[in-house]
Amino acid sequence: MHELSLCEDMIDLLRERAKVDHYSQIKSIQIEIGKLSCVESYALIFAFSAAAKGSLAENATLKINEIPGQGWCDQCASEVTIEQRFDTCPHCDYYPLEIRQGDKMRIKYVEVI
């Protein structure tokens, strides 16, 4: 259940930013979760409510934007959509594909009071 520690890290990070950006309460958090990152969005939302308790993010809504996986096929010289890290090129079966998108987890912005 590393989603719980990711949520704790996220709240710590936003607590640090609160001092710089002068806010005391977070209404919503917009994050991007890549399809190829090892995180389950459902588990993240579940863990977030527990991690946020008693923090400046208590009652905040976690908005998740799932970013599809994209890889580059050297053989076809084309960008292809992939579901898993080890997927082969859908056109020519070539692998490994170079991961171009979808393996990151980012906090985009927060809505604060």
Partner: protein, 226 residues
């Protein structure tokens, strides 16, 4: 209360953050890596599912390397210090981290353990991560190499079932090969799966209990220390 009209709607505003969720962990990992590199300490992060034989492999590795190379160990488990005690019996210094509800070690935990261990320069630091093939894949600890240990009593298809871990690893060790006559395990297919997930992964086979293949593993360590 709103200062303009006295209503109870508080004004909210948007702040752009644009930070990786793992950035806090990665900051700690970088501090660890810099500390280890400055002192020429070779750090290996050993990961596997529970029961792959990590601790036995580690004990046998320590015995084989003898007392020529200074070694320290960070042991991660959810509870108990059984493994750290096994390691200490080999004569090296080990620090146990109990993660409690956590399922992996993170950069900050390892940083604290390094402070406590104070490994000497030109030594080897082994980190035995929590037995778990999922979560430890995401957390950089500041190690030089990640080594994933799989045993022949597990499924042939584990590299495909847990692709993130095999993708993140530099070396895969297939352990307990002495049990091959008694189990249904397809070595070639397993290697093919591992290479499909990570074409750059190196692969070694060994039996830590019987000693087969230990020499290749020790050679690998020596090669990558330099």
């Amino acid at each position: 209360m709103c200062s303009v009209c006295g209503c109870h709607n508080e004004q909210s505003r948007l702040i752009s953050i644009e930070q990786d969720i793992l950035s806090k962990n990665n900051r700690y990992a970088t501090i660890n890596r810099d500390y280890l590199n400055e002192r020429n300490i070779f750090c290996l992060n050993l990961v596997s599912s529970p029961g792959s034989g990590k601790t036995t492999l580690l004990c046998e590795t320590i015995k084989a390397l003898g007392h020529e190379t200074p070694i320290t160990v960070i042991e991660g488990d959810q509870q108990t210090s059984f493994d750290a005690e096994r390691i200490r019996k080999t004569g090296v210094k080990a620090v146990q981290i109990n993660t409690g509800k956590g399922c992996h070690l993170d950069g900050q935990m390892v940083g604290r353990a390094i402070d406590e261990l104070k490994p000497e320069s030109h030594s080897i630091l082994f980190i035995e991560n929590v037995g778990n093939l999922i979560c430890p894949a995401a957390f950089d600890l500041g190690e030089a190499k990640k080594v994933v240990i799989l045993s022949v009593t597990e499924g042939t298809d584990k590299p495909l079932k847990y692709p993130d871990m095999f993708h993140a690893a530099d070396l895969m060790i297939l352990n307990k090969t002495d049990l091959l006559p008694y189990v249904d395990f397809d070595i070639e297919l397993c290697f093919q799966y591992a290479l499909q997930v990570n074409p750059d992964i190196q692969i070694l086979t060994l039996s830590a209990t019987r000693g087969d293949g230990m020499k290749s593993w020790l050679n690998w360590i020596e090669q990558h220390r330099e």
